[in-house]
Symmetry: C2
Subunit: 155 residues, 2 copies
């Protein structure tokens, strides 16, 4: 687990818990930029388009949550670069899923393309257990949280 896990209302859910850490508007865009190799605050501001004060607050929260870490690159004046922790690097599938959805549903022309080694990435999800490709229709969520079922709280 990362450092800070805020309590959340509603159904106990790992996706909700994830959004509690990275669900604020600028968080994943900051992570995207760091994945692209941009580590300094001014570059993060410029490339995300976030207001400076919002991004400052967000990076601090991401640091507290164990998603990014600050590393000094200048002592006078004190300056820091932002790097991803293992938890931060693990967000790349989330960003890839958002990219794929956005390419299909939110832009006219993809402004960036994912490359896999020397070719365009053409991703498919397979299940290691059975070896078959996974279609959404064959995936279901089994609710295990005590007191909750698919339709909500159970009394």
């Amino acid at each position: 687990m990362t450092g800070t896990t805020p309590a959340l209302p509603g159904r106990p859910c790992s996706a909700a818990a994830a959004l509690g850490v990275v669900g604020e508007k600028w968080a994943l865009l900051a992570v995207r930029e760091i994945l692209l190799g941009n580590h300094r605050f001014d570059a993060l501001v410029r490339n995300t388009g976030a207001p400076r004060d919002r991004l400052t607050a967000r990076l601090r929260a991401l640091e507290e949550a164990g998603v990014v870490e600050r590393r000094p690159y200048s002592e006078r004046p004190p300056r820091f670069e932002y790097h991803l922790t293992p938890a931060g690097r693990d967000l790349s599938p989330v960003i890839r899923a958002l990219l794929a959805w956005g390419d299909k549903w939110a832009v006219a022309e993809p402004p960036a393309v994912l490359r896999h080694r020397d070719h365009t990435l053409d991703p498919a999800v397979v299940c290691r257990c059975c070896g078959d490709e996974v279609t959404p229709e064959e995936v279901d969520l089994e609710v295990r949280a005590p007191g909750w079922g698919r339709s909500g709280p159970v009394s």
Copy 2:
């Protein structure tokens, strides 16, 4: 493309465009509930934990963006159920990616488990082009947006 694509600051990016549609805190949790089969407003409020007014505004925005659609189930009083459009159903990989990250980094014990047919889903991403499993280290983003490079705007 969905109905409404808001203009966004910063780097032209499909993930940013996706977050422009579903990046507000309650949007993906509402989609999660509808994927679980909960279609009525009161269930969405209860199971997401969202404030009623925030959820009302969010569902309206999702409807305008072509992610959810309202279907009447009562005429007097007028009552609606929320259903996912194809764009909305296509968000399931985003929610699965968030679930996987949250399971690993944001909860002590997974409150729900993804099932694939009769077994626990054990997902892996493969590239259809080469047939190999995809590791994040071998994926790179090729920036195609005019005037932008990896490090930011190019003059």
